[in-house]
């Protein structure tokens, strides 16, 4: 497969044609120490853009090459090549440099030719290649993103050019989204919330041109719904802006690869990160909009211009705020609010960023404002304690000791349907778009048609009261006083699997489709693989019955117990990461958490809200 010309393994030949030396190949020894030391100087003035004495302005003549090779590792000499190597090059139009007698082509301007140096790894310091500075920006970015947090804080300290990456908003966006827990939490946040714009701390570095910030917003806005930028950019318009920008950077066949890289790593900034020396407050110039080539209306154009001054979110800032929020969770730093109003034990709660809904032994349901914490409304309808509730945008469903399930109309606040069939108190409810599932002290689970209230099916199989039920997809998971968890098919009522392991009755269960978390009178919390039935983890710590759990995917679970404490757990390690005690003065009946809050209710008639986001700007999550 070799051509007739010089093979690469030819050793000893001083004039190697291929600019790239193979490991073990020989290169000429640097001829004079003076060159070596001055080229090191050249290193230090890079990457300010200052020219090094060796910047090739024209293809090098061979007479220079042997001495040039000794400093080929210095990226300064390749500044122009580096710039051109943003695009994979088609064969260059410049004349190739004059060659040795061997006659093979030497492409000086190809960036691939640059890293030539002896490949012995035992080289002394100062002879490596500063690859991050040398590579095309998009590729260097990928390396930094893969290196992840916290390595980026180290990268920030290496040199000025490395520091660029730690100031690049697109990089921080990727790092943020790479934090799996935070992504899960964002999914948990309700869609209805309007996020507040993150405050930018003084001196933050973000002067982005409006066009580029638009590109960033378009690509980030498209894939991640709300991220602190409730911006409603016209996606189509911005897409054309972005395409024009991308196209103008490429040429020939190379452009497709560039734009593919750009689109693959969407959100990447098209401009170099702001240098350390130029940290200014953002002052974008509206009106610097490129190409009116789009077909958007004038009104949309105006809207866009109005929005221009608002740059995309400062992801580094958001990252840092979330990190701080995680710290608060670890240390228990929270603002505590106590809501009173119910006349008896509060059995159940559900909340979102607008409201908190609670049900009580006093037979009422109260709706509280999440912000002011005032009670907005009290709903009556049940003839006995309200034991459980669930709601979504359109319905509220409650279960009671009076053995009925009520489906409430949110607007009127009055009961719409009353589902009666159970012969004892309804202990838990779950629903989806079409079905309501209820479970009861009478040991059965019932499936109802949500719209009409018709009873579709009864599943009897548990030997004790069914204390909790969960619905995910077409699977029902139930937990009973008989110490078993059972999984049922919603459509057929068929029993799919039984999970045994607890030694006493179960009080609560959570199911997200993949993982089941259960709490029991045996004081343990168990984490199960829903598919295999295997118990993956047992969480120990509570000193009494575990009465309530909340788990929504991710690694965090929160439990409440008759021991009057609330504990936060990492279900992968089994560690209890936070223990909230001395707040409730009696049994904890229900608990729910979100990215920045925990809400718990108790027999002591109190509803307690723990807010971990005090002082933090985490407006995009609840």
């Amino acid at each position: 497969m070799k051509s007739g010309s010089q093979s690469d393994t030819d050793s000893g030949a001083g004039e190697r044609q291929t600019p790239c030396a193979e490991p073990g190949g020989t290169l000429p020894v640097p001829p004079a120490p003076s060159i070596t030391s001055s080229m090191r100087e050249g290193l230090s003035i890079y990457p300010g853009g200052a020219a090094s004495p060796y910047t090739p302005t024209s293809p090098l003549s061979l007479s220079q090459t042997s001495s040039m090779r000794s400093f080929m590792k210095v990226p300064t000499g390749q500044q122009s090549a580096a710039a051109s190597c943003r695009l994979p090059l088609p064969p260059p139009s410049q004349p190739s440099s004059p060659l040795s007698a061997r006659g093979s082509v030497k492409r000086r301007d190809s960036f691939v030719s640059s890293p030539c140096r002896p490949a012995d790894t035992g080289r002394p310091a100062g002879e490596g290649l500063d690859f991050l500075t040398y590579l095309p920006y998009e590729i260097a970015m990928v390396i930094v993103i893969h290196a992840d947090f916290p390595a980026i804080t180290t990268i920030a300290k290496v040199s000025r050019s490395w520091n660029r990456f730690s100031r690049d908003n697109a990089v921080w966006r990727r790092l943020f989204l790479q934090q799996r827990e935070w992504r899960t939490q964002r999914a948990m946040a309700t869609a209805a919330s309007h996020s507040t714009r993150p405050r930018r701390p003084p001196g933050s570095a973000l002067s982005i041109s409006p066009a580029l910030s638009a590109f960033d917003a378009a690509t980030s806005g498209a894939s991640t719904p709300r991220v602190g930028d409730g911006e409603l950019h016209d996606g189509a318009h911005l897409a054309t802006v972005a395409a024009a920008a991308a196209a103008s950077r490429g040429d020939g066949a190379a452009a497709s690869l560039t734009s593919r890289i750009l689109s693959a790593y969407a959100g990447s900034s098209l401009r170099p990160a702001i240098s350390l020396q130029h940290m200014v407050a953002p002052s974008p110039t509206p009106g610097a909009m490129p190409g009116p080539g789009s077909s958007s209306s004038h009104q949309q154009h105006q809207q866009l211009l109005q929005r221009m001054p608002r740059a995309p979110p400062d992801w580094r800032y958001l990252f840092q705020q979330r990190l701080e929020l995680d710290r608060h969770w670890r240390s228990g730093t929270a603002d505590v609010h106590i809501l009173t109003g119910h006349a008896d034990s509060v059995y159940c709660v559900q909340y979102d960023h607008d409201k908190i809904v609670t049900g009580s032994r006093d037979r009422t349901i109260k709706i509280w404002d999440s912000g002011t914490l005032e009670c907005l409304r009290t709903m009556t309808g049940h003839e006995a304690s309200v034991l459980c509730l669930k709601y979504d945008d359109t319905v509220l469903v409650t279960g009671s000791s009076d053995a009925t399930v009520i489906v409430w109309d949110w607007e009127t606040g009055a009961p719409r349907l009353r589902l009666a069939s159970h012969s004892a108190g309804v202990l838990d409810v779950a629903f989806n778009d079409e079905h309501i599932v209820s479970c009861s002290k009478d040991c059965t689970i019932k499936v109802w048609h949500r719209a009409t209230g018709r009873l579709l099916r009864t599943m009897a199989g548990h030997r004790g009261p069914v204390n909790a039920v969960q619905l995910h997809g077409n699977q029902i998971v139930s937990a009973s006083g008989d110490s078993l968890i059972k999984m049922w098919d919603l459509r057929t009522g068929e029993l799919l699997r039984t999970f045994s392991g607890h030694t006493r009755g179960l009080a609560c269960v959570q199911f997200d489709g993949k993982t089941i978390v259960s709490g029991s009178s045996d004081q343990l919390i168990k984490v199960w693989d829903a598919k295999t039935g295997r118990c993956k983890q047992t969480l120990r710590g509570h000193k009494d019955l575990v009465r309530t759990l909340h788990f929504a995917g991710g690694t965090r679970a929160v439990s409440g117990s008759y021991d009057q404490t609330i504990k936060v757990w990492d279900i992968t390690t089994g560690e209890c990461t936070l223990d909230l005690k001395d707040m409730h003065t009696s049994w904890v009946f229900d608990v729910q958490f979100s990215a920045s809050r925990i809400v718990s209710t108790s027999q002591d008639q109190k509803i307690i809200l723990w807010d971990f986001a005090g002082g933090l700007d985490v407006g995009d999550i609840n």
Partner: protein, 157 residues
């Protein structure tokens, strides 16, 4: 089943399986534009030995199903590098960098990703001094900048 002929910068010729050659979008585009012919496709941007390595990768992965990668899938993956790839990337810094440049030039996206990942894995655990030493980087911060950076790092500690 024809074979695709490629010519490296130094004139070395390679004959590869078309499926392997197609992993390079540059080669694929050239074939599509120029049509299959008997003349070898010149790749002046890639020297012989490096091209050999790239083709070794492409040949091994030629039957891989190419998933439409969701942008948001760019995530840490250490566990997902197959053993063959790990061995393939067990080379020194120069070779890795050359491979990355060649893969970028040729448009072999999975290999670009693999190289970036491998380099990232090296620098991920190195302290600042070790990075500077290994890659010959000079600390060019002014004192003011250095203290500013230290202050910023505090927030993210």
């Amino acid at each position: 089943m024809t074979v695709v002929r490629l010519q490296a910068a130094d004139g070395r010729l390679f004959a590869v399986d078309p499926a392997a050659a197609r992993m390079s979008t540059l080669v694929q585009n050239l074939i599509d534009d120029v049509g299959p012919g008997s003349a070898p496709i010149p790749l002046p941007g890639v020297p012989g030995p490096t091209l050999a390595r790239v083709l070794e990768y492409c040949t091994h992965h030629r039957d891989d199903v190419r998933l439409q990668k969701d942008v948001e899938d760019l995530q840490r993956d250490d566990g997902l590098v197959e053993p063959w790839d790990r061995r393939f990337m067990d080379v020194d810094d120069d070779a890795m960098l050359r491979l990355l440049c060649a893969a970028d030039y040729l448009g072999v996206e999975p290999l670009v990703d693999l190289c970036c990942l491998s380099i990232a894995r090296i620098i991920r655990h190195l302290p600042v001094d070790a990075i500077r030493q290994r890659y010959g980087i000079v600390d060019d911060f002014t004192d003011a900048e250095r203290s500013l950076i230290a202050a910023e790092a505090q927030h993210l500690a």
